[in-house]
Symmetry: none
Subunit: 225 residues, 2 copies
DNA sequence: CTAATCGGTTAACACTAGTTAACACTAGTT
DNA sequence: AACTAGTGTTAACTAGTGTTAACCGATTAG
């Protein structure tokens, strides 16, 4: 099994080198980038498994970079390195979907512990990312809905909505929760858009009629299977 | 309650033994078979609750075995262990109706997570609450009221009200209790709304005239059946 | 016996959700 | 650049759900 690739974006050369070498003694393959733009390129060419991003960087700061990368992969674990200790920064990091942050100065041990935690967590998650609903199986990362020998590609929206329905199956999935999570707001138009997607999913799930998406008026939807 | 029986088919003795012992520490009863034919016999004689099948096995490979077992039981969860990482294999596993697959090498944690996921899923299905009232059956999770060969979808409110009536059948169900539970308050309007629902349920239950929803003036309702 | 109250029933209503299609926009292809 | 296909949003219309109102009968307290 090959080494785990970690992308490290850190503009201060000395610190970057120290972290890189420390991680390499722990058998990680570290891709060191000195600014946000280089990091973006390396991310796209080398497909690392985890990101360690300095927040304060030239060209492109860590948060912006994370936002852009999240457009491609919304599960990859990200650790932010921040000199500022303000809570505001931390909050921003998390809302982008960052998984952890580390305040400078930090010990190498701290960083390694967090890296291992995140890797374990996401690997366990990935192993259970093939979901089952009635006679269907749903491969969330691939966005494929399988039934017997047929397989159908879902769109990003369809897949995420279905994912949450399955994760909350046999219980009510709150409308406004899902609207905020997937659409980013809870207004009239997003709600109607969501209704359209529910219709689509119902059609795609109608091969097994033990599966139903029930509406709970005013609250949300319940996937029964 | 007895231990959950898991059939493990793995031809490599050392690996088979490791998996068996690991699962036994988690309180599973593991039936280890060294090839596909033995696994088939064990399946028929011991009725395990879940299958973990190596794909590459002598005598009979995992996919063929799964196909044959699916002829007897098309709901038993199956986890395939595969050394090959090719997508083709995975697809074939799913088209047989297999529920999950695991690429070697895998961690024991991964396997255990998947086993528990699959077991929970099938067990939840089996314990779904189907209630009986006279000649009707009422599937509460699906909100369906069945009579002979007809089936009717109930709304969320209807279903919950009926559920409580059935749970308290042949005894008085307190008005204010149900109002607080379903409507969240006990005011005039909610009470009148509830009356409307009682009327609706009476209509929907009138195919079996041994069933009656009786009013106990000032106290509540009593479902007789 | 009568008035007051409670519950039964039906229909009108407001609101929510379902469905379909048109549309704008993006991305991929020729 | 033009064409095509796909995705998600918006719009328009329809259907369904639950609340409220109105009217009625039944029961009970005075």
């Amino acid at each position: 099994m090959s080494k785990t690739k970690i992308l490290l974006a850190e503009d201060e050369p000395a610190l970057g080198q120290i972290i890189k070498e420390s991680l390499e003694t722990r058998d990680f393959n570290v891709l060191l980038c000195s600014d946000g733009e280089k990091a973006m390129h390396t991310y796209q060419s080398d497909a690392p498994e985890l990101l360690v991003l300095d927040v304060m960087m030239p060209k492109k700061d860590g948060f912006t970079l994370a936002k852009e990368i999240r457009a491609f992969d919304d599960t990859i674990p990200i650790i932010f390195l921040t000199a500022k200790s303000q809570t505001q920064d931390v909050v921003e990091g998390f809302t982008i979907g960052g998984n952890d942050y580390l305040k400078k100065p930090f010990s190498m041990e701290e960083l390694i512990v967090r890296i291992n935690n995140l890797l374990n967590r996401t690997r366990i998650q990935k192993t259970s990312e093939i979901l089952h609903i009635g006679a269907y199986t749903f491969d969330f990362p691939k966005q494929r809905l399988n039934f017997n020998n047929t397989s159908e590609q879902l769109t990003h929206r369809e897949a995420h909505l279905l994912f949450h329905l399955i994760k909350n199956k046999n219980q009510v999935l709150d409308r406004s929760l899902i609207l905020n999570k997937l659409w980013g707001n809870d207004d009239f138009f997003s709600a109607r858009s969501m209704d359209v997607f529910i219709t689509k999913l119902r059609k795609k799930l109608n091969k097994d009629n033990s599966i139903q998406i029930l509406n709970v008026r005013g609250f949300g939807y319940k996937l029964i299977c």
